[in-house]
């Protein structure tokens, strides 16, 4: 008895309890809902059998039905544009800003801190702001574009099927920019100064220093930023209801918003679950990449 007690307060028992609590927490709050979601995607679910577990099993019917929706490929295309557009934009601009703020100039740290404002704002607020910026007839963006002479005609960012998905992507780039910049700044700060000094002595120019020192040293950070970017972008939901509602005619609809529409506009909870299971597979791949790219950090 005393052995067990002492093991709990100081020893293997303590470790097991610590791990056990975490595992129980993960299992209850992530594992069970995840499995439940997968099970639901093989059932026929509506609001009136939502609270029972005995629902008719339909096999892969939901998956077949979802893929056969006329808007399916349009939504895949939009999701791809949104995800890759957002990640590319956030990463490129975030990296550029991070490099810029590595230069020592007065108030560099303060200004960099101010960039975080976009990250701490709730998505719905950001969405509402961008909704006004992107409005067709009275929008700020159109006023600016017209004033500098870039366009003569009014661009209907929210209502033109060719522009709508780009409009939301633009807002999302702004939203995620600061997060990318911060993570990349941390990575940059971790690179030892003497490496650059030695390279400079050897006559490497700044482009060579960037490609042979900065990029290789940042490999783990970049992998993590891109993987997290993918996950956050696939989670990004608030901007859609606030800016375009997926319209016009699904031209800015993406998988995550579509899943919500299935469940909470059309009340077909099984199809909503089906779409989210499909997305889960993608996120799983991203998570594996993320874990793989950060494996050195864990051991180091």
């Amino acid at each position: 008895m005393g052995r067990i007690l002492s093991s709990i307060t100081d020893g293997k028992g303590f470790d097991i309890i610590m791990v056990g609590v975490t595992m129980a927490f993960l299992f209850a709050l992530a594992g069970v809902p995840l499995v439940y979601n997968v099970v639901m995607s093989f059932q026929q679910v509506d609001m009136f059998n939502l609270n029972t577990f005995s629902r008719p099993f339909v096999g892969f019917d939901n998956y077949v039905a979802v893929v056969n929706q006329p808007e399916f490929w349009l939504i895949i295309r939009n999701t791809a544009i949104f995800v890759f557009g957002s990640i590319t934009g956030q990463f490129a601009l975030g990296f550029a800003l991070a490099l810029f703020f590595m230069i020592k100039f007065p108030f560099a740290a303060t200004i960099r801190g101010l960039f975080l404002v976009s990250w701490v704002m709730p998505g719905l607020v950001v969405g509402a702001l961008w909704g006004w910026i992107l409005a067709g007839d009275f929008g700020v963006l159109n006023a600016i574009l017209k004033a500098v002479g870039l366009t003569e005609r009014t661009l209907f960012w929210k209502s033109d099927p060719n522009l709508a998905i780009w409009a939301v992507t633009m807002a999302n780039i702004w939203l995620g920019l600061a997060f990318n910049m911060m993570l990349l700044s941390v990575g940059l700060a971790g690179i030892p100064r003497d490496l650059y000094e030695a390279a400079e002595l050897d006559g490497a120019n700044s482009w060579q220093r960037f490609t042979t020192i900065t990029l290789p040293m940042m490999r783990a950070t970049i992998g993590a930023v891109l993987a997290l970017g993918l996950i956050y972008t696939l989670q990004q939901f608030d901007l859609f209801p606030a800016i375009t509602e997926g319209g016009p005619a699904n031209s800015s609809n993406v998988a995550q918003y579509w899943a919500w529409q299935w469940s909470f506009v059309l009340f077909d909870f099984a199809k909503g679950a089906t779409v989210s299971v499909m997305m889960l597979v993608f996120v799983l791949v991203a998570s594996i990449i993320y874990v793989w790219s950060t494996r050195h950090e864990v051991r180091g």
């Binding site: 609001m47 007839d137 005619a249 059309l266």
Partner: protein
């Protein structure tokens, strides 16, 4: 001195006891009411709930405000977890989703025995939307419909003396009224990708001989081409595809559009905001003398079947119905029954508009009722948007909607 303190304390104790026992003896029941009234502006359900709550009749009313977008979801969630409110107020096309599955209490017999609620007095459209299989599951709270608001000053300036009576006139006038260079549009409406889009487009389908079960009519195709042409030529803003009715009519109020398709809920704001003379006319038809149609909007009240206090909830319902004569003067809403007098407000434009909307209501047709209305509606507004953005021809868009609807209604 000491004695008086003791007697004072005793008195206080006594009175506490009396209050406590009084509360016990009465054994108040609490009826919860959910509605969107009070979210944007003061409305009937929040006002009447508060009034009923203050009455000393053994029934308390607990009122909860929900947003328009979330009331169906919240009610669904609450119902499936056994926490449903006693009374809920839903948009009329959402009502059948619940009544068809027994989530609303069948009040046919209670209404038959009631001195206050008389089912025969209700207009046909609102009555249909609370009925299922010949039984009554609720009462209409208020109703509305759509017509065409027009800017009389702009009409005069363009030399047009009467509002449009046909869609051809609607297009012709809009083109003459629009000043694309100055950001002044000929007309505005809402073709938004949600229930509002269906609300405004379905009447067009109906007046051209179709219905929600049969959407690909010649008139509907013609109308879609007409509106698309107006958007392409800058006579109508492309943002009609993303603006709701309230925002779309906002552009009319601020003098940026000569006509707006919307409903009576706009009147009070328009009286305040519009710096010009305005009027309302009936929704145009395809040819003069053709069958008319319009949308039937408005909310219903129903008692959830899971209620613990059906009698008390019905009393609350009766109280709300008994206040129907206050709907128009106090809130600008139209009652759902024909036996309520609407006193003139004294504001000439408001009273004239009311007359037009009351006439329009005779042609208003409900959406559904169908338990899967949301899916039908989505097929309709998707077709509307696909055609107006040019992603599909009107015929392709409507045939696709038709094949989706066929799988739902058959």
């Amino acid at each position: 001195m000491k004695l008086s303190t003791i007697s004072l304390m005793a008195g206080a104790a006594m009175s506490t006891l009396i209050i406590a026992s009084g509360g016990l003896a009465q054994d108040n029941v609490t009826v919860t009411v959910w509605s969107i009234d009070g979210a944007n502006q003061v409305g009937p359900s929040d006002t009447f709930s508060a009034e009923f709550d203050e009455m000393d009749n053994g029934i308390n009313v607990e009122y909860r405000i929900l947003q328009f977008d979330e009331i169906v979801n919240e009610t669904l969630r609450a119902y499936s977890t056994g926490n449903a409110p006693d009374i809920v107020s839903l948009d009329n096309p959402d009502f059948a989703l619940f009544s068809s599955r027994g989530a609303f209490l069948d009040i046919t017999d209670m209404v038959a025995a009631s001195d206050i609620i008389n089912a025969d007095a209700y207009f046909e459209g609102p009555l249909n939307s609370v009925s299922w299989d010949g039984r009554l599951f609720g009462v209409g709270k208020y109703t509305d419909t759509i017509g065409v608001f027009y800017n009389k000053d702009a009409f005069e300036e363009a030399g047009i003396d009467a509002p449009p009576q046909t869609w051809a006139e609607f297009e012709d006038y809009a083109r003459r009224l629009a000043k694309p260079g100055e950001g002044f549009y000929g007309a505005t409406l809402s073709a938004r990708g949600n229930e509002e889009g269906t609300f405004q487009f379905l009447p067009v389908i109906q007046m051209s001989g179709g219905s929600y079960e049969n959407v690909n009519t010649e008139g509907a195709r013609e109308w879609l081409s007409m509106v698309k042409g107006m958007i392409d030529d800058g006579v109508m803003s492309q943002d009609v595809l993303s603006l709701g009715q309230w925002d779309s009519t906002g552009t009319f109020n601020s003098g940026n559009a000569a006509m707006a398709i919307s409903g009576p809920w706009e009147i009070d704001r328009m009286v305040e905001d519009a710096q010009f003379e305005w009027g309302v006319t009936l929704l145009p038809t395809f040819a003069e003398g053709d069958a008319r149609s319009s949308a039937l909007g408005g909310f219903n009240l129903g008692i959830m079947s899971t209620t613990q206090h059906p009698e008390a909830a019905f009393e609350v319902l009766e109280y709300m119905v008994a206040q129907d004569d206050r709907l128009f003067p106090e809130f600008g809403y139209l009652p759902t029954r024909g036996d309520v007098e609407l006193p003139p407000s004294g504001i000439a434009q408001k009273d004239a508009a009311l007359e037009v909307f009351l006439e329009q209501l005779q042609y208003a047709q409900p959406r559904g009722p169908h338990p899967e209305w949301q899916r039908i509606s989505r097929a309709i507004y998707d077709a509307l948007q696909s055609a107006l953005t040019g992603q599909m021809t009107p015929d392709e868009a409507l045939s696709r909607a038709q094949s989706t609807i066929d799988t739902i209604v058959n």
